[in-house]
């Protein structure tokens, strides 16, 4: 039971930051803008939450600091994503190029600023992180309680809640319909009076908000400080999760949980008696191999929004 609970809770909280970032990618890519810059946006989110929290804590902000930090991360993510938006929407730059540039810029800029602020490439540790807790009452329910309501992070609920909210918005609100139409067939959307450029800006900026949150949750949950190596590859994993989840919010939930589970098994596996003799390298690569097998076995073809990656030029044929 202990081990099962461990695997379940590890799965869930490992999935949370990826889920947020992948949802960000979903907004951008559903509007037709490839976002390979999720990594950079996560870096900015991680940077923002740590700097904000440190500053507020110094001013006596207490436990609230990190939550304000989360908000700041969302805002900074949105602003930072404007680079990508302006280049790829307005200047019709290749969207992959501009996303790559975003990644370079994020690491360079954040570390440069950290250096400037603290005279060091690494910040101090925040005191108020996101901590696990047991939900009173619910955690006492047999079986379910220990699995889902004990040792939980508030941020996990935030991620899941937002994922369902995104699902609702994308599929049930006019905004979602319009956003998707812009990613599928911008010319058609244009003739229907939808402002393609505006929708894409919103899509990209929302990707900044969500990826910023993802990076922030990661930093404030796991590392507690910020340096150039706080975010290393999570953005790319989020991108993979987005494609794995077929650009669908519920798919994203599934994909990130799958990644989380694979990772949890890789880590916990060595402690399991029947796996302890397996050479560690196999457990290390297991999450990645499992993902490939899953893709080849039952997930198969993934097709993105039709207009993904194509700049919209009015009146082009």
């Amino acid at each position: 039971m202990d081990v099962l609970a461990l695997i379940v809770s590890t799965t869930i909280y490992s999935a949370a930051p990826l889920m947020l970032a992948a949802l960000g990618g979903l907004f951008s890519e559903r509007s037709g803008v490839v976002n390979i810059g999720l990594e950079g946006l996560m870096v900015m989110g991680a940077f923002s939450v740590i700097v904000t929290t440190l500053t507020l804590e110094a001013a006596g902000g207490g436990a609230l600091s990190v939550w304000i930090g989360l908000l700041v991360a969302a805002v900074v993510g949105a602003l930072f994503s404007l680079f990508h938006a302006v280049a790829s929407i307005h200047f019709q730059a290749d969207q992959v190029v501009s996303g790559v540039a975003l990644n370079f810029l994020a690491v360079g800029l954040s570390v440069y600023i950290i250096n400037l602020l603290y005279g060091s490439g690494q910040t101090a540790y925040i005191e108020n992180r996101f901590y696990r807790f047991n939900i009173p009452g619910l955690s006492d329910i047999p079986v379910i309680g220990p699995l889902f309501f004990s040792n939980v992070y508030a941020t996990s609920f935030l991620a899941f809640g937002l994922a369902f909210l995104v699902y609702y918005v994308i599929y049930y609100r006019p905004f979602g319909l319009r956003l998707r139409s812009v990613g599928e067939h911008p010319q058609a959307a244009d003739t229907m009076g939808i402002r393609v450029v505006k929708m894409r800006y919103i899509g990209v900026m929302l990707s900044g908000v969500f990826a910023g949150l993802g990076g922030a949750v990661f930093a404030a949950t796991f590392s507690g400080n910020f340096s150039a190596t706080t975010i290393t590859g999570q953005g790319f994993m989020a991108l993979a999760a987005l494609i794995f989840g077929k650009w669908h919010p519920l798919g994203v939930i599934g994909a990130t949980l799958f990644f989380g589970l694979a990772q949890a098994l890789g880590v916990v596996g060595q402690q399991l008696p029947f796996l302890s003799d397996v050479p560690p390298v196999f457990l290390l690569i297991a999450p990645y191999v499992l993902t490939i097998l899953a893709l080849a076995g039952f997930v198969g073809r993934a097709e993105g929004p039709k207009a993904l990656g194509k700049p919209y030029i009015k009146g082009s044929r």
Partner: protein, 345 residues
Amino acid sequence: ACGQGDGSENNAGSEGGGESSDFTAKMVTDVSGIDDKSFNQFSWEGLKAFGEANGLEEGKNYDYVQSSTAQDFEPNLRALTRENTDISWAIGFLMADAVKTVAQQNEDAQLAIIDSVVTDDNGDPLSNVANITFKEHEGSFLVGVAAGLQTETNKVGFIGGVESELIKKFENGFKAGVHAVNPDAEVIVQYAEVFTDPQKGQQLANTMYTTGADVIYHSAGNTGNGLFTEAINRVKNGEQVWAIGVDKDQYEEGVYEGDQSVTLTSMIKRVDTAVQDVTQQTMDGSFPGGEILEYGIEDDGIDYATTGDNLSPEIIESMDDYMQQILDGELEVPKTDDEFNEFAG
């Protein structure tokens, strides 16, 4: 080798010894950067302490150069030797090959390296390189003693970064320390295979604590941050668990609520002392070229931290006792798996 070493010393003496303000000592950082809160930073602190002690000018007499990738080591070192720097420091064993190349190409250069021994193709140390290593296993042994005494579950953990000969010293020293005071205790060992993933560190710690460990020591760089995160989480939920820091006093990493910390103690490796020491020797005209300087407890190179008084006086007493045994040469701490197996019998 000694003869050659003397030659270069004279050379250095004529340049640096005569007028102290001409003496130059510079270091090349590893890719983790000058402010990694770890050995790059300590090395720099050692160099600064040296400079301040001698009234030298930062930037001119002593300075550092950052490396962004492993490819930068060699050009950075070469750049320093080309400026006729009196002692060029290479921080970290990863730079061993770069040091070798540069040292062989420029026999007048004087280099020093941390955590490695640079040899020529015959396995003999190069005469113009000073090799500084540490007896991390001894320090790890001491914190192992603390862990073995502190544990109530008779289960402790060790999280390694990327498995290597160096990190093995930490692991085996720690295991030996636990074994020495608590032969019944089990030590769970797991390597993250990455130095930069705090999430993985947290997951490893979570697993170890869940399966019963209550004290965990790490030697995993940034990955180790996750250990403190996890320990804090557990302590906040009313559990009694401990983390042990590495390389420096990691008390701060474990702080929760005011000034309480989950950091039981830390294994301290005084890179700064070593750097300051050797640089001073060089300035004084006795560059230890070709020598292997192994800093241990007796040279103030290895220590443990007591910040926050989390260690009980009894444990400290026991640690000091073992420290004395090591100093007296009564106790040989194992470094490798084989040595540990022999030690544990």
